[in-house]
């Protein structure tokens, strides 16, 4: 028995020593959405910043939402330094006091000398957040199997294009896309959605394809669903589809009709350690050059005006010009809708509830 106890003690001591690890100075944990998107950030932000400062960036993935940040802040044990969030979450998190306020005056002027306040697109710098990209939810399909798709209405047309559809599991932005497919002009979408009849109308449209829907949660899933032939068409983040085409040679096509665009922003959870390095990383990663570099890895638009002229071609394919693949390219922007963060901040609890009830029926 003594032997057994000794052995257990030794084993415990060893595992304790092994498990204990400490955070080094000059190390920050940056959390983002994973897959091709995180890769673009690693290449354009993390690596050059690490080379320049000698600090380390630990990259972590999550699938959006404020839950984790809130849990960390309320537990008083914040391990994340910087998180990439959607606008509605940045606003809500700021309102609830779980994010640090970021002084916009720290942001450097653009490479062409424009002061930061003028260089950032309107609405991309917030009390608690600094924007980095414009991204968009679009719908896509395999061009080698599906041809002749008109617009967003065809996504909901099972007669014309039979087969499964992929949709993000949640009301946002499915309700908006459903209304646009139902003939509502982008400018009127949120007005219609603010009435009960409008919400009913959006759900009715979703109802028409409900039995054929495969729901996805992580941004990496839609290209996978298309590649596996699990779905005929799917909504997706535009950069993920672009990446599957550019990096893996997949025959996917994006249909920009009825796209819903949004921002991604950097936020700092309240009470995060190592503020100095974190702010330095924000300054670096939202600089003109870093944003332009990122756009050569994935087709998300930089939020600085001064970055636009520097965006050139895909990082390893000089003849693949990035500009036409951006959500903000004029040809793609004809029937686009900006996600209304205030509408979602107001209504997301209720609409999530209704969506969940609808889903389980």
């Amino acid at each position: 028995m003594n032997k057994l106890i000794n052995k257990t003690l030794i084993a415990t001591a060893i595992s304790a020593a092994v498990a204990a690890s400490s955070v080094q100075a000059g190390e920050i944990t940056v959390v983002s959405w994973g897959g091709a998107y995180t890769k673009s950030q690693v290449e354009a932000y993390h690596k050059p910043w690490m080379a320049q400062t000698g600090n380390t960036v630990v990259s972590e993935d999550y699938s959006g939402g404020l839950a984790e940040i809130k849990a960390q802040v309320e537990a008083g044990n914040v391990t994340w330094n910087l998180v990439d969030v959607e606008l509605s979450d940045a606003v809500r998190g700021c309102d609830e006091g779980i994010l640090e306020v970021i002084d916009p005056s720290i942001l450097p002027a653009g490479a062409d000398g424009t002061p930061a306040a003028d260089d950032f697109l309107p609405g991309t710098v917030h009390e608690c957040a600094v924007g980095n990209i414009v991204w968009s939810t679009v719908f896509a399909y395999d061009g080698s199997k599906t041809q002749g798709v008109g617009g967003i209405a065809d996504f909901f047309n099972l007669d014309k294009f039979p087969g499964k559809r992929g949709l993000r599991k949640g009301p946002k932005p499915n309700l908006e896309m459903a209304l646009m497919a139902d003939g509502v002009a982008p400018a009127d979408v949120y007005e219609v959605l603010s009435t009960d009849a409008g919400i009913d109308r959006a759900f009715a449209k979703l109802d028409s394809i409900k039995d054929s829907v495969v729901w996805w949660e992580a941004g990496a899933q839609p290209p996978q669903l298309l590649a596996d032939g699990e779905v005929v068409m799917t909504t997706a983040y535009n950069g993920r589809i672009f990446n599957a085409v550019a990096a893996e040679g997949k025959p996917f096509e994006i249909n920009w009709d009825g796209q819903v665009w949004d921002l991604d922003l950097w936020v700092i959870p309240k009470g995060a350690s190592n503020m100095e390095d974190t702010l330095d990383f924000i300054k670096f990663s939202t600089g003109t050059q870093a944003l332009a570099d990122q756009a050569s890895w994935i087709s998300y638009g930089p939020v600085r005006k001064s970055s636009a002229p520097l965006v050139s071609s895909y990082h390893n394919q000089p003849d693949l010009d990035m500009a036409p693949h951006m959500p903000t390219a004029p040809a793609n922007f004809a029937n686009a809708l900006q996600n209304d963060f205030e509408f979602w901040a107001d209504n997301q609890d209720q609409l999530n509830e209704r969506f969940n009830a609808w889903l389980s029926k």
Binding site: G65, L66, A67, K70, V73, E74, R92, C94, D95, E96, G97, I98, V101, S194, F203, W215, K270, E342, A345, D346, N347, D349, Q350, N352, E353, R354, N356, A357, W358, L359, S360
Partner: protein, 420 residues
């Protein structure tokens, strides 16, 4: 010790008193041995759950963010709009609250709290907080309504009055698919928003179904194990115990591999020509998948108690009944089956209790319609962040489980539980 007791008791203290003292000492000693663990569980388990119960009725976001207003609105009689003083206190509190950035005490917290009961009102609070400092002097009522005409709606003030109480039944109202009507009475929620009661019903129904399937499958196996000679039954027992000892996630993974559309069963059916390659059957990521995987995981919990009871039934009883001319079915029904009831009750309650609280398997293979109440609780704790509602749902589930646990203890006794 007992010998010593007797010898000492000769010093004049009555034996009875001495005995009582010794017994008390022994009782204390026995109790003392359990105390470290009881105290440990108190801290690690009982207090946390108690706090969750408290969270389900306690939400102080209104009084924490606008404390003076919370006091004032509770004095209001609820007729028309609150008096001018209350408006003034509200505006001043909002200006004050806007400056606060302390976690849990910001305007956003207040807005979220009220938004639960009055969907769509969130931005009313956040935008008012931004602009409130422009209101320098009275009359505050007009100024506020000018800022946003929604402040002229008595409904928002009634909701605020309800929410200003720190102890509130509001989350149980929501958890039971009810809502407050305009006049403050409680009515059924709109059918489109009803989710929890249906889910409770579905959880109970699926648990009952799973328990029933487990009984059907476990009974013959337990019987076989109990009648076979030891050498053979030990061999077969491995087939029950190995899954029992295998990680839950391993078994769930295995079912995904077997049941998915590109999985083994579908492949076999296609190979044998029962279905076409396009007509593969969806057996996972829905209710069917949840049922199959959960039956597999919970089956040993039914087999083991049944087996331990059946093993103690002497085979001579059945033989006696048969030799006295009873038909096999009749003998089984009248002689054998009643004797297995304790094991059946133990297994049934155990499986049912475990099933209604199940989380992992439905989360992984349940898809949309295979989710149970535990998954909704986790959703509110981890995703929607409506912790009070999650706690209220959890409390309801806990009450159901504890009732069943009490029943189990009453009928079988938890100390009779054995594994393997």
């Amino acid at each position: 010790m007992s010998t010593a007791d007797i010898s000492i008791s000769q010093d004049g203290i009555p034996l009875k008193q001495k005995l009582a003292k010794t017994t008390a000492l022994q009782r204390r000693r026995a109790l003392l041995l359990t105390m470290p663990l009881v105290l440990f569980l108190l801290v690690s388990f009982v207090v946390p759950i108690g706090q969750m119960l408290f969270n389900s009725v306690h939400n102080d976001k209104v009084s924490a963010v606008v404390p003076n207003f919370a006091d004032a609105i509770l004095q209001w009689d609820g007729v028309g709009l609150p008096p001018e003083e209350t408006f003034e206190i509200f505006v001043k509190d909002m200006i004050q609250a806007k400056k606060v950035r302390e976690v849990g005490r910001t305007v956003g917290n207040l807005a979220t709290r009220v938004n639960y009961e009055m969907p769509g009102s969130r931005s009313l609070f956040t935008s008012t907080a931004r602009k409130a400092k422009k209101i320098k002097e009275g009359p505050y009522k007009e100024a506020l309504i000018k800022l946003n005409k929604k402040w002229g709606n008595p409904q928002i003030w009634l909701t605020l009055q309800r929410a200003a109480r720190d102890i509130t039944p509001a989350f149980y109202v929501a958890a039971l698919d009810l809502k407050y009507a305009e006049d403050g009475s409680i009515e059924r929620a709109d059918e489109l928003y009803q989710i929890y009661l249906n889910n409770f019903m579905k959880t109970l129904w699926l648990s009952a179904l799973i328990t029933f399937i487990c009984i059907l499958l476990a009974y013959p196996v337990a019987y076989l194990l109990s009648v076979l000679p030891l050498r053979q039954s030990n061999l077969l027992m491995i087939m029950v115990l190995l899954p029992f000892w295998t990680s839950l996630l391993v078994r769930t993974t295995a079912w995904i591999a077997i049941l998915q559309t590109e999985g083994i069963i579908n492949d076999m059916l296609v190979f044998l020509g029962f279905i076409s390659d396009d007509g593969r059957i969806q057996m996972i990521y829905n209710q069917t998948g949840t049922i199959i995987a959960m039956v597999h995981i919970l089956l040993p919990f039914m087999i083991l108690p049944l087996y331990s009871v059946m093993k103690t039934i002497p085979p001579s009883y059945m033989r006696a009944a048969l030799s006295m001319g009873a038909k096999p079915l009749y003998a089984y029904r009248k002689v054998y089956f009643p004797q297995t009831l304790p094991g059946l009750a133990a297994g049934t309650l155990l499986v049912f209790i475990l099933a209604i609280g199940y989380y992992i398997t439905p989360a992984l293979v349940g898809g949309e319609d295979g989710l149970l109440i535990s998954n909704l609780i986790a959703y509110h704790i981890q995703k929607s962040l409506n912790w009070s509602l999650g706690a209220a749902l959890g409390t309801i589930l806990l009450v159901v489980v504890l009732l069943l646990y009490w029943l189990y203890n009453k009928l079988i006794g938890i100390d009779k539980l054995r594994f393997g």
